[in-house]
Amino acid sequence: MSELKGQCLCGAVTVTATPARREISACHCGMCRRWTSGMMIAFEAAPGHGATGPVKTFASSEWAERAFCGTCGSALWYRVTAPGPHQGQTHMAAGLFEDAIGATLASEIFIDRKPTGYALAGDHPRLTEAEVMAMFAANGNADT
């Protein structure tokens, strides 16, 4: 895909990113759920993405940070900070971009942590926490 431009609600932060794949996925883990309104829907950005404006970051764990607009509070991205093969991997909030980059939801993860009161439609893989952790372990890195 080519480079796309996105912006937060107030427009103070603009981001440019090239999706690694035309693919978005949703995470219902406890951290994503508390941080966003309910679920984090994001795409993986290829290296070379950028942002301008009042970006604030929070180290949400020993291995990752979350960024938001300091003016309006819009969620911006989740980034792996821990050393290793996934360091720097960035998952951009799809909502910053027109029509969520035009991608279809490819998967949901931590589906067993999703509240019972709502659900996303569609026929796509839905992975439990145990399945996600097994996948990460197989990849040699915990990058949630």
């Binding site: 912006q7 937060c8 609600l9 107030c10 978005i24 949703a26 951290m31 759920r33 508390r34 941080w35 966003t36 309104s37 309910g38 679920m39 984090m40 829907i41 994001a42 604030k56 929070f58 949400s60 979350r66 960024a67 938001f68 003016t71 309006c72 509070g73 819009s74 969620a75 911006l76 909030a93 799809a94 909502g95 910053l96 029509d99 969520a100 035009g102 991608a103 279809t104 939801l105 509240p115 019972t116 009161g117 709502y118 659900a119 996303l120 439609a121 569609g122």
Partner: protein
Amino acid sequence: MSAIGRCLCGAVNVVVAELSDEISACHCSMCTRWSGSVQMGIEAPEAGVTVTGPVRTYRSSWFAERAWCETCGSALWLRNVDGPDTGVYEFVPGLFDNAAGARLTRVVYADRHPGGYWLEGADVMRVSQKEYEAANAHLNEAEA
């Protein structure tokens, strides 16, 4: 029902005396950019709400504010502070364990959802942008 909630980092805590058991979701462009996916809210009358911690707010329209935790960026609420429907918080479900047991009952700006994902539920009320703005005239000068 009463409920206790907190943001991702735990700096902001909310104690709510009367939280609705219904979730309303919104796909307008402002809510999409702010939440990164789909904004959801659970109503609670302001009387009986106690909020502690480093809250920041942004006046996203002439009638409404959006609040987040200044430390971690977690979304907290949307609230009308002028015009109709003041006196009510719309807390994000993510603050509460299992979304406080609340259930999705309504999606507004339902026809504006990104092509790639939507919330399921045959019994969920779907309100289009046109219908919603016809019923809420104060929105027309805020939502482009």
